[in-house]
Symmetry: C2
Subunit: 498 residues, 2 copies
């Protein structure tokens, strides 16, 4: 059964004095009024970590009660930072099954009331334990991906900085036109460059902020102006180190493949997109993974203005997570709210896109391991699907490593990527240098070294030695002398050892 | 589209040395082998509070990876202690929509590794903040419901004790035949009576234990022997004090109504049931709410042996939550696993029920505010639904009080029910006396009094006075002298005041 959207609403994003349920009730009220209904058949609640941010559980029932809808079935859905998209997908199937006619999807998060180090610790729990115990945070892992991207596609540190700045500047400019965005002020290149490093090469302006906010959507089996054309959802390995590639996300590619197929659309059909820019570089990787631009060329499209609000394929006209803000549970749904406003031509004179008949949203859960792609379309758009239609989107998806293989060993390796983290979670000391080391056995291993405190101490591709210290891998650069020692030792071992 | 079950599996319930994901992987492996498939289109993960019990989030992706199914869409679903049933419902709609062919539902919880007071505190977070801040726990609220039930249906304390003991003894006897149950030993009446009070009138043997465990089910659109005939889901007010009745659960009744309608079945058609006996009395209330027995007569059916394993309507042949154990996220799904075994005649010579063609499971989320009823049926069972079929289940559902009405006031009231809690959560002192007071304004208000330390200090219906002390309501019994003083004061107020 086809599924449509009949109502949307969201709160102002930012620092709120309201409680989580008050914010969510506000968004729900707006969406229900917008849909012109008072009751629904079910409620799907998206909150990522209400237990630790707010200290509540059984939140689905609490929310139904807060809305004055106690009695109505209410279910909490969670897929880390893509939770809003996850709740939407779940509700989509409920309506699509024919068992439900009208369903409220409601997503939110309350985060700003806690100290930043605690928030960072809570957010870090989405990271695999094997990496989290090194003090790895979301910005740290994303920064390591940025370093790897630059090296793989031959971008100098200066060039990378330029590109990242461009994403931030574009999205803040877009956000300045969004009255519900957390930041409503354009930023300059100078401001970007003056902002502090959170985790090298990411500055404060490369990272989506900590935000309170809520968004709501009403899904319906009744035909309306906005149709849900395609949904795709895929996971990837828990540990980032187990991924086949660090410079693209399998979970986005597989989600996109499913969504394009369900919608019977190709990347070239998409007129605008909301892409999960929790970190500036993720927008660029996202536009590549979604098939808009070839791998390693997303930044060129950005440079050429293609993804600007008045460009050929506007990305994050809302301001994105970067400028609209990132209440983790809500962001995936807030993207869809923006898309509905664009599709309905309700985004306001300045933010409204010229061509807005088909839009796509991509949402990332965790560090790219629970992702969604959702395609919305105007139902009045004339389109004929050619007989024997086949998708022209054929991404390369190298399988990730399976867990449970032999544990990685100490010894020599190459520094695949690294970061210096200046905002570690509770219990870790700043700066914290983390890296992925490629071992001789072919494993990618997280390692740390407290002696390297500056980004310039290291270079990608450095020969290093891995030691285990207190259960953690520590990497050390091999000096020429050490390498010689190692070589001599290995020679004598191969003669006398077995 | 019709939905069937092709595979089930569960771990041994109890105290496990395995991690949560290891237990869940074990259950999933069993269910997938039982379904004779290796891959599924999606995974729905039920865990109630993985954040605080285990310190992880992004658990859906982690689980997919642990299962070697990374890539497959994986979504976490949560509805408090009915989470397993909630994940099942969500998966049901996904398959019913036609978008998914085979779906794995996987539910579990790891609880025994924490100190009991901490576990109690975490479990108490499902309770509305207005009641939780008094130190109310699940056993305390359930015990207050038991006192109210006894008073409403004229059961003496001795008689209530007898009935509760019968539930515990029956379910432990059933559990003794279940090799996966946490407790596999029958208990005697003497043992029951010797067990300590947790929250008067509930003893240790009235409460489901703290348990580790996992259960899994594979749903499919392919026709198999076991069909999902009906699902109902409903919520109720967050605060127990706002409920229309304390001696039945609206959320069970509304769920049952929906499930019976979807299945086109009546209570009399049900041959066996798994009922959420987190507390002994809840089994009795459950069998009444489900329409098996009239309100206030569930205990008579128990006394007459109707609900025994060899009775006319066996309840909790598995041992129930009481004896099988209660890993909160898993229980709702473990009930369905047992039902599938019974429907397939695979429950083992001793536990297998004679008539097992249609079964029903009822699962309670929180203190009765996010409940599910699920009906499973043998697909080879011949049945004709009469033309113009109408349900003969017509429960009385009085609406609960809406929140947001005027706050309750200090002053005189009647003690509606109370308990003395001997196992309070972290930060509260034992014994803790809690009660619901009915104010003159008609509000039901939670209140406490540290001076009453014995159950015999109080009687239901006692005239009390409510005071606010440090933001909490405290109740005090009115002595004759105090009542006289109050009367004199009220007389003088009505003369001189306005």
């Amino acid at each position: 059964m086809d599924v449509y959207i009949s109502g949307v609403g969201m709160t102002k994003f930012g620092k709120s004095t309201e409680s989580l349920e008050e914010m969510m009730a506000e968004a729900a009220g707006l969406a229900l009024r917008n849909a012109e209904i008072e009751r629904v058949d079910a409620i799907y609640i998206g909150v990522m970590n209400v237990e630790e941010f707010v200290g509540d559980s059984n939140f689905a029932a609490l929310l139904a009660d807060t809305l004055g809808l106690s009695g109505i079935p209410s279910t909490r859905v969670e897929t880390a930072s893509s939770t809003g998209a996850g709740a939407f997908e779940t509700a989509f199937y409920a309506v699509s099954s024919g068992h439900m006619k009208n369903v409220l999807v409601l997503a939110g998060e309350k985060m700003t009331h806690l100290p930043t180090a605690k928030t960072t610790r809570i957010l870090s729990e989405v990271i695999d334990r094997s990496e989290r115990r090194y003090g790895a945070t979301m910005p740290a892992l994303a920064a390591m991906i940025a370093q790897k991207y630059a090296s793989e596609f031959n971008l100098s540190p200066r060039k990378l900085e330029e590109i990242l700045a461009m994403v931030a500047i574009k999205n803040h400019a877009n956000g300045s036109l969004n009255p519900l965005a957390q930041f409503q002020r354009p930023i300059t290149r100078e401001e970007y460059l003056k902002s502090q490093f959170v985790s090298y090469p990411f500055r404060l302006y490369d990272c989506a902020p900590i935000t309170d906010g809520a968004a709501a959507v009403v899904l319906t089996s009744r035909s309306t102006l906005v149709k849900v054309s395609g949904i795709g959802h895929a996971t990837d390995t828990s540990a980032v180190s187990h991924r086949a590639s660090l410079t693209s996300f399998n979970s986005t590619k597989e989600s996109a493949l499913k969504a394009y197929r369900m919608a019977q659309l190709n990347p070239a059909d998409i007129q605008f997109a909301e892409v999960h820019d929790a970190f500036t570089l993720f927008e660029i990787i996202g536009t590549e993974d979604l098939g808009f631009f070839p791998p390693g060329e997303g930044w060129k499209a950005l440079e050429q203005g293609v993804t600007q609000r008045r460009g050929k394929l506007p990305i994050n006209a809302s301001g994105g997570l970067k400028s609209r803000g990132h209440p983790v549970g809500a962001s995936g749904l807030a993207q869809l709210v923006e898309m509905v406003w664009q599709l309905r031509q309700e985004a306001g004179a300045e933010r409204q896109l010229e061509k807005a008949d088909i839009g796509l949203a991509q949402s990332i859960g965790g560090l790219g391991n629970n992702n969604f792609v959702t395609i919305l379309e105007r139902a009045d758009r004339k389109r004929v699907v050619a007989q024997g239609w086949r998708p022209d989107y054929r991404p390369k998806i190298k399988p990730s490593r399976r867990t449970g293989t032999a544990p990685p060993q100490e010894g020599p390796g190459l520094l695949g990527t690294y970061t210096v983290l200046y905002a570690p979670p509770e219990g870790f000391v700043s700066p914290l240098t983390l890296g992925f080391v490629r071992t001789k056995g072919g494993d990618r291993v997280m390692a740390c070294n407290p002696d390297y405190t500056s980004p310039t101490d290291l270079t990608l591709g450095d020969r290093v030695t891995l030691h285990k210290r207190e259960g953690l891998f520590v990497f050390e650069k091999q000096t020429l002398w050490k390498r010689l020692q190692h070589w001599i030792k290995s020679q004598s071992t191969s003669k006398h050892g077995q």
